[in-house]
Amino acid sequence: MKDLAQQLEHSPLRSAERRNNPYRDDKVIDACSIFGMMDQNRRLFTGNDIIEASANMNERVNGLGSGYAIYGLYPKNRKNYALHIMYDDKEALKWGSKYIGSNFEVIYDEEIPMDNLDKSKQLPIMWRYFTNIDVDHLNRMEKEDYMVKKCLEINTSGRGAYVFSSGKNMGVFKGVGWPREIAKIFRLEDYKGYLWLSHSRFPTNSPAWWGGAHPFAYLDSTVVHNGEISSYGANRRFLEMLGYRCTFQTDTEIFALALDYLLRKQHMPIEIVAKIFAPQRWNDIEKMPTNEKNLLRRLRITYGNLLMNGPFSIIFANHGLMVGLADRIKLRPLTAARKKDLFFLSSEEAAIRKICPEIDEVTHPQGGRPVVARCNEGIAS
């Protein structure tokens, strides 16, 4: 038996497990961790606290993906779309930069500063471009459509280039590693924002690669997710019919695309979007007052293919907005808390208390009911 165990230990197939489970326990029980923190008065703060909170949930994850989204990040270039792109190699970088140059007006571009902590490994190439869309006749909606279209074109080009952040005055940083590791690699101590999301990953049924780490972002919307979407196939087909493409080999990007469609294109309030992602059961809908019943019936019939089946809790953010939502029967954890103007969402209460011991209010949201926090406004749930 011992010989067999030793053999397995040196097999390349087990190499991932040795990283996942350095203690060689028989079973690893893990889940992703999500965390969000927002100053409702838009005061900027550093990432120290959120990195600490995220690292406090290391027990949930296995170091195969972490990421951060920061709002209020580029005040000097607040009017430009900030594109963050990861490249496989220099050739991809050359292609990507040329593509960006021919489709956008580039105000400024640079390599995203990164520290390689482990010299034995090579980091992917990360570049950021501050751009304008220099097409005069387009209105705002058309410009945003143009941006999403170009992002998807790059991501499906097969050239090894992936746009993972494309909003204004915000940005995503993500990769394969532990929360502290990724924060160090991207030198997050140099950045400030008024709203931070973080995610740390335990990949279950999709590969662990730099693009597959959360958050997922299109334009100003970002999403982090704990759980899995069993209805991925149906959701994907529906979104593909609308011209979207899935490019990151991970179920969570469905949320990002669906949010772009429902919130930006269809102008739906987030409360209605929550009813589409996590609707009530039919027999509960039947018990409701007529108006509500009709609305919910129509939503389920029209947008049934955007029902996110399976266990999940997500945090979604946009400028001035942070929303937490768990699936309708609450199969993944979500805790909300507030301390004066600071609003928190987290997989675990301990992570919040780690950075803010004296919380004014803690709640455990109901499944399918979004917790919505907006800047300069109270929490309405």
């Binding site: 027990e59 609450k330 675990e348 301990a350 208390r353 803690v362 109901q366 499944g367």
Partner: protein
């Protein structure tokens, strides 16, 4: 509380300790024969008191992580703060007393012991609670709980007091879904129940259990026990001990 007791307590500072390091310390303290252990600055470390046997008292200040008291067999764990998810997972015997609220699936598959929660509980409290011969677990919730209370319950007792409710209605639906054993006793009404349960009046034995549990709750957290006991209770028990018999057999 009592300084004399404190002196004999084995103290552990959990600040910045990983789950593994903290549990190594706790287990070593138990191996060394300490009967009273106090852990401070707990901040999300998991599996505290996991599988520990014997009459040991563990006092926790802070917020313990998931799976507090998992597989525990005998100890008394007191938490001064809120708890997280899966407290008392598959515990065999002992007591867990939480001075605060707890997260989801408290007491999952527990087959013995007592869990006392001062405040509210999350989803699926007491999911698949069971009992075996003399072992009968009990979960007492001082406040209210979210949906699927006592889901797939196979034994034991859940008592929910609703002390913090103004209208006497617990905002919990699907209570007792899939239940096929054990008893849920409620003070107040719930928003909805699973179709596997029906409502009954309390009998003499139930009243005795409720009185015992409320007095114990009052001892831990303080409440007007006589006032609570004077109010109306109802109990939910399963219609069938084998609700899915027809589904899986042919």
């Amino acid at each position: 509380m009592e300084p004399k007791n404190n002196r004999s307590k084995f103290m552990i500072d959990a600040k910045n300790l990983t789950t593994r390091k903290l549990n190594e310390k706790v287990r070593k303290a138990v191996r060394d024969g300490n009967k009273q252990i106090a852990i401070h600055n707990v901040m999300g470390q998991r599996y505290i008191a996991a599988g520990i046997q014997g009459l040991i008292e563990i006092d926790i200040t802070g917020i313990p992580g998931n799976d507090l008291g998992v597989f525990m067999d005998g100890p008394k764990v007191v938490v001064h703060g809120n708890g997280q998810d899966v407290i008392g997972n598959t515990m065999n015997a002992g007591e867990i007393i939480i001075h605060g609220d707890v997260g989801d699936i408290t007491g999952m598959s527990a087959r013995g012991g007592k869990i006392y929660i001062q405040g509210n509980a999350g989803y699926r409290t007491g999911v698949h609670l069971k009992e075996y011969h003399g072992l009968r677990p009990i979960i007492v919730i001082g406040g209210t709980a979210q949906d699927f209370l006592g889901e797939y319950m196979a034994g034991g007792l859940i008592l929910m007091l609703g002390l913090n409710l103004s209208d006497g209605i617990h905002n919990a639906d699907y209570v007792g879904t899939g239940m096929h054993g054990g008893t849920i006793i409620l003070r107040g009404d719930v928003r909805g129940m699973g179709r596997e349960v029906e409502v009954h009046q309390l009998d003499q034995e139930d009243n005795r259990l409720v009185e015992q549990a409320v007095l114990e709750y009052s001892k831990h957290f303080g409440c007007r026990a006589d006032e609570v006991l004077g109010s109306k209770f109802k109990k939910l028990i399963p219609i069938s001990t084998r609700p899915y018999g027809n589904l899986y057999s042919y």
